[in-house]
């Protein structure tokens, strides 16, 4: 399997520097015009598109139906010829066969051979990558377990539901442990478990240095996993940038804490008034339907309820983790357990040294610990406490926090004793 060094070597072989300088996918002035039989321009699907996806990032291509997302992806993969402009994938032309050893692709639908079963399907794609039989069998076992199809692997994929076909499609995209993963509407047709799993998988792959190009019109999916996004319409990019830069409201702060009574809220309001601020909105957060769904399914699985379809899915295939473990994961972290935790709707227990994709620092973790400690002592579910926005430690008024959480109990006791006096 080729690694980063091989990618750079491959890229520099023809003198192109785009892969070596960090750009895994590069489009310049890319245009695609579909013509009819009389060569009249019928549809300008992509119009002078400039795009650059850097190594190790998750890039989201957003847009409504017909905005040119899939056409762009198909040109990047060589399935369509550009009318104008240039495309480079890992510094090579899209038709370059050797480059495709490093690429995994999941189209908008899983176009599978219906007569093959799941194992044969993965074996077929594995053989196209010239994987040796032993390694192929090992990877197929792991992938089938990962996508939850190991129990139905002997059934022809033509008998699978759409969601199960998506899962096998995802597995085939990962069979070569790709450096670049191109996913076109990956969560279409998937149940919430599968959707969640794919999103978690994307995050994990990105943590391991893989580049992911995600094309979707499901905004929540893109928001959850992407580092950078671009929004397309009419074949052009209308907006591009980092998700945080585009979405975070820099002038607002939100906190989630254990239920507060009116008196405490009033106190907070008074406190904020001292610095000239006021509470914009007070409400009670609802559990997300996704979490509720996952919990119900998890409970049914624990009870041993039978299903003829896909199971919840297993740990991330070990081969996707093994080769990159040293570089991306600290010792003691079992990446396989991470996804299990996610599926079980438990927060990931990050070790102190683990870098966070959300940019939280050690100080953030310490603050989080402090915020939750007292609540835990009082039998509060730790899972219900979360910081929505990564906030710099310097901006936190610790006295306020202390009062509101652990130390607030002492303060209230003091105030009660004051009133008695």
């Amino acid at each position: 399997m080729l690694g980063t060094a091989e990618v750079s070597k491959l890229a520099s072989a023809d003198g192109s520097a785009s892969a070596a300088d960090g750009a895994v996918i590069r489009c310049a002035g890319l245009t695609k015009v579909f013509r009819d039989f009389w060569m009249r321009n019928r549809v300008r699907a992509v119009d002078g598109l400039d795009l650059e996806v850097r190594r190790g990032e998750v890039y989201g291509l957003l847009g409504p139906n017909g905005s040119g997302k899939s056409t762009t992806i198909k040109m990047i993969l060589g399935l369509l010829h550009p009318t104008a402009g240039r495309v480079a994938l890992l510094g090579k032309r899209p038709h370059d066969v050797a480059t495709k050893r490093l690429v995994g692709y999941l189209p908008e639908e899983s176009y599978l051979y219906r007569f093959l079963n799941a194992r044969e399907t993965l074996d077929y794609y594995g053989r196209l990558f010239h994987l040796d039989p032993r390694s192929r069998a090992r990877r197929i076992d792991m992938l089938l377990e990962m996508v939850g199809l190991d129990a139905v692997q002997r059934r022809p994929v033509g008998e699978y539901s759409k969601g199960m076909q998506r899962r096998i499609g995802l597995a085939q995209a990962l069979i070569n442990d790709p450096q670049v993963l191109i996913l076109d509407e990956p969560t279409t047709g998937l149940d919430p478990i599968g959707t969640r799993q794919i999103k978690d998988l994307i995050v994990q792959l990105a943590q391991r240095g893989k580049t992911v190009l995600l094309c979707s019109h499901l905004l929540a999916d893109v928001e959850d996993v992407c580092d950078r996004i671009s929004i397309m319409f009419g074949g052009k990019i209308r907006l591009e940038g980092r998700v945080d830069d585009l979405l975070v409201q820099q002038d607002m702060t939100s906190l989630e804490v254990q239920k507060l009574d009116d008196q405490t809220i009033h106190q907070i309001e008074q406190l904020l008034a001292q610095s000239g601020r006021h509470i914009e909105r007070v409400d009670r957060p609802r559990q997300r339907l996704e979490s509720l769904f996952l919990e119900i399914v998890h409970r049914a699985q624990v009870e041993g309820a039978a299903t003829s379809g896909a199971t919840a899915g297993g740990p991330v295939a070990q081969f996707l983790i093994d080769e990159q473990r040293g570089a991306h994961l600290p010792d003691g972290v079992d990446a396989a357990k991470v996804i299990e935790q996610l599926v079980a709707d438990r927060p990931i227990q990050r070790p102190a040294a683990a870098p966070s994709r959300q940019g939280s620092t050690g100080q953030d973790d310490a603050m989080l610990e402090k915020l939750t400690r007292r609540a835990e002592d009082k039998g509060v579910d730790r899972n219900r406490v979360a910081v929505r926005e990564p906030t710099s430690a310097e901006k936190v008024d610790r006295s306020v926090i202390d009062r509101l959480t652990g130390d607030s109990c002492d303060a209230q006791a003091d105030r009660r004793s004051d009133r008695k006096e």
Binding site: R42, G66, V103, Y111, Y113, L128, G235
Partner: protein, 602 residues
């Protein structure tokens, strides 16, 4: 504790069978025949139940599942064959047995192919998927079943009152034709369907974004089809050969002579020799003599002899040499028979005398002397316009490998009944001698059929790269029909709009002649006759882009016991296998490389 895996079950099955055989053999050795039978029966029943239970229990295991299919097929065939025997249809039982044997050979061959191709990646991966596709596609399965059924049922459909030699020729002709036609249709459908389905249902999105080139993709598809054809041809070949042996051994004692003819003239590989004038017959002198006569008869017309005139004179001389007048005689020399002399088998002299007077009793009386040897019965009574084969001992061939055949027409010139006897029609006078066996001949003929299929496979794939399935398959069928009947079409087109003395013209002269004829008829107002010319030209243009399967048709040769030579096989390999398939493949690769695989998805 024993873990109940399928391997344990299989091992125990082997142990049960071995123990049963051993105990039964020991009992038999002790003279306890009844006990031995009882042991065999009980052990056999137990083994049958054991295998049935195991096949059901581990049916999810791929190997066991396949073994289950074989066992089911065997049981079904045995029941059907038993039913046929009980109803008195022995030939039906033989057909069922043959089908079973071919089915088993197919299963074994398929397992070998899976094991061989299953190891490689790239194009071999595509080929494996292609074969699995063919096996599991119901239409393909129908074709395969039809092929096995036809080969197996044909022997029982033949008229038992016919001579064995005729039945054998009919069986060989029909079975080889059926195999060739069925596999050609299957190949066209499979090749066209496979690529067009991949393009329409978009499997190419997932295949051609993997590290495989578009040329390798086409190559893999082609490899899958030709390997599949190889398997089916092997199975069909085994079936044909097997049924030939069964037919041969089913002949009764009274058929001895007939069976001898089958062995010597049908189930062999023979070559034929046409006669030549003897050395003392100077054709050049005769030509000059005849030319002088014509110059005398037609002064001025033959001063400068045109090629057409020379050909005409030569043809007339040959016809005169091949014709024997009443009471006359002629000599015919067959040379190059050294191999036949070494082989030692009798050579066959095949005659088809044509009596110019068409006698009422249709009998022609001839006398024949071969290298100064007379037949036992010196007066030969042959039927007018009918083939007759005479056996000539190999030791009559002289050391130069020659046979000088002198034939005399015994018709009395004073009271002629038959008039002259001529051998001027095609194949009217030939000598056949053996150069090989039927098995090798059948093998070479199947190789030629396979090469034709290889071309058709590439043609289908190429068509499907740019046409939808119905159009691609119909175009391939058109080319297949054109290639199979190219000789017939060529002759038909020539007679449809013929230029005078066409055979003596070059291609350019013929084209100019046709255009002149078109213009002349147009100016004369004969519109329909004029339109025949462009119709012929379009037809010939089409045939120029179609290989001639007629040149490489081994079926009549095998049926007549004539050799399908390695030379012919090599020519077929070069022409069909390399040239036509290669050109077709290059065109297909170019089309595939330049076409857009995705469709409008905005």
């Amino acid at each position: 504790m024993l873990r109940w895996r399928w391997t344990n079950w299989l091992t125990l099955f082997g142990a049960i069978v071995a123990a049963t055989v051993l105990v039964a053999a020991l009992l038999r050795f002790q003279g306890l025949v009844g006990s031995a039978w009882a042991t065999g029966l009980i052990g056999g029943l137990f083994a049958a139940v054991w295998i049935a239970l195991g096949l059901w229990r581990w049916r999810e295991v791929r190997l066991v599942e396949r073994a289950g299919h074989l066992v089911l097929g065997t049981v079904a065939a045995a029941l059907l064959a038993g039913l046929c025997v009980s109803l008195g249809h022995r030939s039906g039982a033989v057909a069922v047995g043959g089908m079973w044997a071919m089915g088993m050979a197919f299963a074994v061959g398929l397992a070998v192919i899976r094991a061989t191709l299953g190891r490689g990646g790239g194009a071999m991966s595509i080929a494996t998927a292609m074969i699995e596709d063919a096996i599991r596609m119901k239409v393909a399965l129908v074709f395969i079943a039809l092929l096995l059924l036809l080969v197996a049922v044909l022997p029982s459909m033949l008229d038992v009152d016919q001579l064995m030699q005729e039945r054998m020729k009919t069986f060989l002709t029909w079975s080889l034709t059926a195999v060739s036609v069925i596999l050609s249709l299957l190949t066209i459908l499979l090749a066209c369907w496979s690529v067009s389905r991949d393009l329409v249902e978009r499997q190419v999105y997932m295949t051609l974004t993997k590290p495989i080139g578009r040329g390798a993709y086409l190559l893999g598809k082609w490899l899958g089809v030709v390997v599949m054809n190889l398997l089916l041809l092997t199975v069909a070949g085994i079936g044909i050969y097997g049924f030939v042996l069964i037919m041969l051994h089913s002949g009764t004692q009274r058929d001895t002579e007939d069976l001898d003819v089958v062995r010597r003239q049908v189930l062999v590989a023979r070559v034929s020799e046409e006669p030549r004038p003897p050395a003392d017959m100077d054709f050049d002198a005769l030509f000059e003599q005849r030319l002088a006569q014509l110059r005398d008869e037609f002064p001025g017309e033959y001063d400068t002899v045109t090629p057409q005139q020379a050909n005409g004179i030569h043809a007339a001389l040959v016809a005169r040499w091949l014709t024997i007048g009443p009471g006359g005689a002629q000599q015919y020399l067959f040379s190059g028979l050294g191999q036949a002399k070494r082989y030692g088998d009798a050579v066959q002299l095949k005659l088809r005398p044509y009596a110019t007077a068409d006698p009422s009793d249709r009998v022609v009386y001839l006398a024949m002397r071969i290298n100064r040897h007379l037949f036992d019965n010196p007066v030969l009574q042959l039927t007018h316009d009918q083939f007759r084969t005479l056996s000539v001992p190999a030791d009559w061939i002289d050391d130069q490998g020659q046979l000088l055949v002198e034939i005399a027409n015994l018709d009395d010139p004073r009271q002629p009944q038959t008039g002259s006897v001529t051998f001027m029609y095609e194949h009217a006078l030939e000598v056949f001698y053996r150069v090989g066996d039927f098995g090798a001949n059948l093998l070479r003929s199947l190789i030629i059929v396979w090469l034709r299929l290889a071309f058709l496979a590439m043609l289908g794939l190429t068509m499907a790269t740019s046409l939808d399935f119905p159009v691609a398959s119909l175009a391939c069928l058109l080319i297949y029909v054109g290639a199979s009947a190219s000789v017939f079409f060529d002759e038909s087109l020539q007679s449809f709009a013929r230029v005078r003395l066409e055979d003596t013209l070059s291609e350019w002269q013929r084209l100019i002649g046709l255009l002149a004829m078109f213009w002349q008829r147009l100016t004369e107002g004969q519109i329909w006759d004029a339109m025949k010319v462009p119709i012929r030209l379009v037809g010939e243009f089409f045939l120029a882009f179609v290989p001639s399967f007629g040149r490489f048709n081994p079926t009549p040769l095998v049926a007549k016991g004539q050799v399908v030579s390695w030379e012919l096989t090599g020519q077929a390999g070069l022409s069909l296998g390399v040239l036509w398939t290669g050109v077709c493949g290059l065109v297909g690769r170019w089309l595939m490389h330049h076409r857009e695989l995705a469709r409008v998805t905005v």
